[in-house]
């Protein structure tokens, strides 16, 4: 568990505030002028301001008091102890942290918990049926061996769940396109694509019953 309000070491410490900082984001050069650096050795300790956030996650209301900079992914994992949402790259590329916000998939690492107030969040925990049985996308992943280590799986499951709501009958090509924004380092994606198609089948069978 992280401790709310505890400052972490700032990577810009040691630089003067006005010195331009050149870095890169996803391979692109970005130049910024950093804030006054956090100085753990001197200066006045600034207590970090906390904000009250009401989060509605998987149908349950939660009330947390966190720094404004708390990412939604961290709020879910640390404050709500819903550790099904995984944190991979933390800059929106890998897709492991994908959750549903009012039914639409979004990157939880690119949102602050405070911004999610008033929205209905669904995490991978919320994809399981009320009786504890696996949902259709989860079941399809089991049947098709759509995961190996499982790290990326929560992001795939949420992304595919939302995708099938919009496109209930995807072709294999469309299924591949649907998961293009999620990275998996184990499977080679073949079985994940199969799982998307199988999940669509399972959903149709349910609809027929």
């Amino acid at each position: 568990m992280s401790t709310p309000g505890t400052s972490t070491t700032d990577g810009t410490a040691g630089q003067t505030p006005t010195q331009p900082h050149v870095g890169s984001v996803r391979g692109r050069v970005v130049t910024t002028v950093p804030r006054a650096p956090f100085d753990p050795a001197g200066g006045e300790a600034r207590p970090e301001e906390l904000v009250d956030v009401r989060l509605r996650v998987n149908g349950a209301e939660h009330h947390i008091r966190v720094p404004g900079r708390r990412l939604l992914s961290d709020a879910l994992r640390h404050d709500l102890e819903l550790t099904g949402t995984h944190v991979g790259c933390e800059h929106g590329v890998c897709g492991a942290c994908t959750v549903l916000m009012d039914g639409r998939p979004v990157r939880a690492c690119l949102m602050f918990a405070a911004s999610a107030e008033g929205s209905e969040i669904t995490t991978v925990e919320g994809l399981t049926r009320p009786d504890g049985e696996l949902g259709p996308v989860q079941q399809a992943f089991v049947e098709c061996h759509g995961l190996q280590c499982g790290f990326c799986t929560p992001g795939f499951l949420t992304t595919i769940t939302a995708y099938l709501d919009e496109n209930p009958d995807p072709s294999p090509e469309e299924a591949r396109e649907a998961v293009a924004g999620n990275l998996c380092r184990c499977t080679g994606y073949q079985n994940i694509v199969k799982a998307v198609c199988r999940a669509a089948e399972l959903r149709r069978e349910e609809g027929d019953r």
């Binding site: 400052s7 972490t8 700032d10 990577g11 810009t12 900082h21 870095g23 984001v25 996803r26 391979g27 692109r28 050069v29 970005v30 130049t31 910024t32 950093p34 804030r35 956090f38 600034r46 970090e48 301001e49 904000v51 720094p67 404004g68 900079r69 990412l71 961290d74 933390e90 800059h91 929106g92 897709g95 994908t98 916000m101 639409r104 998939p105 979004v106 990157r107 690492c109 690119l110 949102m111 602050f112 405070a114 911004s115 107030e117 008033g118 992304t159 396109e177 293009a180 924004g181």
Partner: protein, 300 residues
């Protein structure tokens, strides 16, 4: 990979945003979709003292089609604009380009106006704003101003928005009747930043008639969005003339774009991709492929 501390402000309305910006100036950043800003914060490439979250500000999520423009509010997500049949009918180039913006999950959250303010030379929407002769509406306590695209983009990752200003609306210009548009990109991986992208708007005299006007906009090929007027090369041309004009188009595009080398592609390769795509899109448009959206990728 966590942002440095900041004071979080959930603004309730535009007036509160403008008050906060007037008071905080350069210490504050606007948070809209956050799909470009939050990675920068997470990596601590930026560390604003204050973040003004506009996600709950009412009145900024409208898409309005007028006779000469498609107006897009500051909180319209890329996905919403792409889903708007009215906007796509009025300006098909929007739909043709928006499906190239990152991945659907990023488009669900990222805003079109935010990507304009971010002014990434690899961004699709800045190129489209320039190609449509569009503008951005900026508001502050000092008043409101409308800045045309050619003045809005100042440098790579740099727009002219001042510290106390909120970009409230983007205005994409609609093309005159008889204009056909197309857009394509080539990237190493699907959904990744383009090595080179081209948008094209060509007006002809009737469906099979000669070219009257032709313009191209570029992604990842110029420091700031810039529009190449291809009319001098293409005026009067019909589809059958294109093979003979390909070299002249290649020359015009190649001398106009100003790409840089990086790990993904050399400048020369990007220049080549720019010319190849421009010629392909032209051929498609003049052959009557009115809804061309070339899907092109190289295998990684």
């Amino acid at each position: 990979m966590k942002p440095a501390p900041f004071v979080y402000h959930a603004a309730a309305d535009v007036e509160e945003v403008l008050d906060l910006l007037a008071e905080l100036g350069t210490e504050a950043k606007i948070l809209a979709g956050g799909q470009s800003l939050v990675p920068v914060l997470n990596m601590r490439l930026a560390g604003p003292e204050h973040l003004v979250d506009i996600n709950r500000v009412p009145g900024l999520d409208a898409i309005t089609v007028t006779d000469d423009a498609v107006r897009v509010g500051a909180l319209v997500r890329h996905a919403d604009l792409l889903a708007s049949a009215e906007a796509r009918d009025a300006l098909p180039l929007l739909g043709q380009a928006l499906r190239w913006v990152a991945h659907p999950v990023i488009r669900n959250r990222g805003t079109t106006v935010g990507s304009l303010v971010h002014a990434d030379p690899a961004g699709e929407m800045p190129a489209i704003l320039a190609l449509t002769g569009g503008s951005v509406v900026l508001r502050s306590r000092r008043g409101e101003r409308t800045v045309p695209a050619e003045e809005f983009f100042v440098g790579p990752m740099e727009s002219c928005v001042l510290a106390d200003e909120l970009a409230v609306e983007a205005v994409f210009g609609r093309f005159p009747a008889g204009t056909r548009t197309a857009f394509s990109e080539i990237a190493r991986r699907h959904g990744d930043y383009a090595m080179a992208g081209v948008g094209l708007a060509v007006r002809t005299d009737g469906p099979d008639g000669p070219v009257q006007d032709a313009r191209a906009g570029f992604v990842s090929l110029t420091e700031v969005p810039a529009v190449l007027d291809l009319t001098p090369v293409l005026e009067g041309a019909v589809a059958a003339d294109l093979p003979g004009l390909a070299e002249a188009v290649t020359e015009a595009v190649g001398s106009f774009v100003d790409p840089v080398d990086d790990i993904h592609a050399t400048a020369d390769y990007r220049r080549h991709l720019a010319a190849v795509q421009t010629n392909r899109l032209l051929a498609g448009l003049l052959a009557g492929e009115t809804t061309t959206t070339t899907t092109e990728e190289t295998s990684a």
